[in-house]
Amino acid sequence: MSDRIVGAGLILLAAWYGWAAGEYEAPFADPLGPAAFPQLLAPVVAGLGLWLVFRPDPEPDWTGGRVLVLQAVSVGLMLAYALLIVPAGYLLCTTILAAALAALLGARPLPAAASGAAVSVGTYVLFTWGLELSLPGGTLFAGS
């Protein structure tokens, strides 16, 4: 079933991709403009999508339940990290991310927090002093 869904998704993607490519035109004479290559690819994608719809593999073993929740939480943390790194600053965000991920993998709260802080400070020192790169200090809190 998963394969059929992906196959159908690919057909839709191919349709949009080929259609969107049709809008592109080169401002000068070009035997093969910016639209041609995508329009060559689109039918191939659609054809392979059809193949998946009609000849799917056996269903993969999707682990549901607890693992899915853990994965959703870790993806959520990573997305939040990307959005918050500039306003909240590198040190705070990284400590929380590393500590939370360690906890998700089964570390106890105290060692998880300690490892988060260690990873955060360690990489901060390495990147700012060792490699002389600037990591965001954070603007959310006054003074920094």
Partner: protein, 502 residues
Amino acid sequence: MDIVSSLGSGFGVALQPYNLGLAVIGCFLGTVIGALPGIGPVNGIAILIPLAFSLKLTPIESMILLTSVYYGTMFGGRISSILLNIPGDAPAVMTCLDGYPMALKGRAADALAISAISSFVGGTLATIGLTICAPLLASAAIYFGPPEYFALFVLAVVAVGGVGTGNPAKTLIAGILGLVLSTVGIDPASGVPRFTFDSFELYDGIDFVVAAIGLFAISEFLMFLTDREGGQGKRLPVGQIRSSFRDLIFPAATLRSSALGFVIGVLPGAGATMASFLGYTLEKKLSDKDGTFGKGDPRGVAAPEAADNAAAGGNLVPMLTLGIPGSGATAIMLGMLVTLNIQPGPLLFERQPELIWGLVAALYVSNFILLVMNIPLVGVFARLLTIPTRYLMPFVVVVSYVGVYSISNSPFDLLLMTLFGILGFVMRKMGFSMIPLVLGMLLGGPMEQNLRRAMQASGGDWAILVQSPLSVGLHVVSIAMIAAAVTFELRGRRRARAAAAP
């Protein structure tokens, strides 16, 4: 001899103190990355690319760093295979079979020494092979025009991805999707922005490093959550080497497997994992007279290790000479070179010989460093294996994010990387290979440009694509590889159905 003098000047580059220092660091990091289960060669090299950019390394310096990491991972994988019975990376699976039983018998130090020596021999022989073969292949450069390059890139993306690894339709889909992703951004030929959703962050296209780190490193974390029950194995002690030096080398097994590994490495689509598998199988067939293989036969350690290190060297041949990588790790290295505005391929040998020969010389040097480093320091590497993965994996994730942020300063790239992580996880679960996707993203740009250049030359006549024997030959190989994969797959299905029926 042309090669000898070129190589001599290469050693001049490789032995400069700074380059030598990078090689030592690379070898050390590579061994650690290879040894730690959970970080393989591909994601290890991917997360180190931002480091190479941050250090503002020149192309030759970055390549020395990354190739010594690459060779190092091949050395490191065996350590956890032998001591933990968990392969540190995929090619080291076969080393578990006889390495762990040796360690159980208290011969861990012997097994580590044997595998270090055969790794060194395999790696060095492959580097010699590279030294001889690469200039020969590169001299074919004059026969390559835009139609031939187009055919070559088609071959690389469509057929190389993975022969005999699962469903060929999925391999093709991954490759074509990579090509689709490569069209995002401003079209270099006409200046038209394509598939950018009017978001200026996408005008430069999707950064290859962001995609690669997301696909490999972030998805690894998500995979790890699903099977973390495996947990930490019990590490066996290293102990002392008990045998004499003569009992630690197995010339026949090592040489056979090295030759086999190198050939497999040069062939597109087959990497170190297949090489170590075939190396072990061949050796077992030839020398397992008393049924000792699988119970701690030292030849069962020497053979796969020689083969996988030789394959690693062999993999560099098509990457450097034709610009088509045969494995994930070389694809990532190619990506870095392209990002540094160097397009590997036949012309590279003429235009930048000091880069190629410096790199080749550096490979000899790093192999030697690895051998010297691995015998006395094996205890240190073994101790690293006791780092619990629940602290190690978050560290890898953090380094991935910092690395990407440090080169782009763009939170958008961090979001994109996370999305690629999810994509990578789903692809792995559903049996899509990620290497064709990465290849497609890398080679899509040059593929389209060569196609358009060819069409400009012909005034829009498609026949130009099949007018030279070389391009016809390349297309025939592509079609043959797809046909072979499809028949293989159909036959497999029929057999599975026959087995299921009573």
